[in-house]
Amino acid sequence: MSVAITVGLYGVAFGAASVADGFSVLQTSLFSLLMFTGASQFAAVGVVGAGGSVASAVGAAFMLGTRNALYGLQMAPVVRARGLKRLAAAQVTIDESTGVALSQATRGPAAMRAGFWYAGLGVYVFWNLFTLLGALGAKALGDPAAWGLDAAVPAAFLGLLWPRLTDGFMRVVAAVSAVFVIAVTPVLPAGMPIIAATVVAIILGWRSR
């Protein structure tokens, strides 16, 4: 239940951010229906809002989505779906469904499978419902700056980043990335600094620990 409420609130934030960054209500809903992976969705609309190109926006969404492939590796032997059901399982392979499935590991494979589908489909419904609410709400408000939506978007990114800063090394990666973006913003095309920041993750992740 608390997962559902949290997902709902992030969904409202995404819907509002997407509309504030120039997407229509229909496009915003399609993001949640088709892409259905929160951080990637936020990144795609964030890059567009920062004035970035199509390639930068798609690249940022893709790179944030790669972790879902690693979740899929873990979930495929748990779900053991075939055909279309396998594609549906892939679509709902996200942070929450993988997390719930893994939390049921001690109760056996059937409980893991049930947890995966329950969380995946539940989040799908809530995420899409609240995306639409957020998009309609932001559309009704009008000028994003007048309502502080232009600050709410980076604040939402900060809120997504915060719980991931679990140790000193993670904080170093975040700080180096932030300084890097400030440094290259005047010299790279708009939106490119965001993609380029992944170089920081690759260099620092290459041989550490």
């Binding site: 496009q27 232009d150 600050a151 932030a178 992944t198």
Partner: protein
């Protein structure tokens, strides 16, 4: 960005993210199991989210701009340090930023 550009972002980014999910379910586990790949993959969201905070908080296209948004971000950080829940963080940032925007 043009109307076509926005639709391209919706279509291509959604397609790319779905393809990545499908990949995870269909490739042999050994392909993506390299520890270095896993380590980098854990750091990429941190780099990207940090970059997005800066790009949307203190940049306008290709130049840096200190304005009402930075006030909102400061309030958001204070709220996170105070362990307030996500919606409070976002609403506090929006409210403080809008206040400064209208004051100006």
């Amino acid at each position: 960005m043009s109307g076509t550009g926005l639709w391209l972002v919706v279509g291509l980014a959604s397609g790319a993210c779905f393809a990545v999910k499908v990949l995870g379910h269909f490739v042999p586990a050994s392909w993506l199991a390299h520890p270095r790949l896993q380590r980098i993959n854990a750091l990429i969201p941190i780099s990207l989210l940090s970059a997005l905070v800066v790009a949307q908080g203190v940049a306008v296209k290709t130049h840096l701009a200190i304005d009402h948004r930075l006030v909102g971000l400061g309030v958001a950080m204070a709220a996170l340090l105070a362990r307030l829940p996500f919606p409070v963080v976002v609403v506090a940032a929006a409210a403080s930023s809008a206040l400064v925007y209208h004051w100006h």
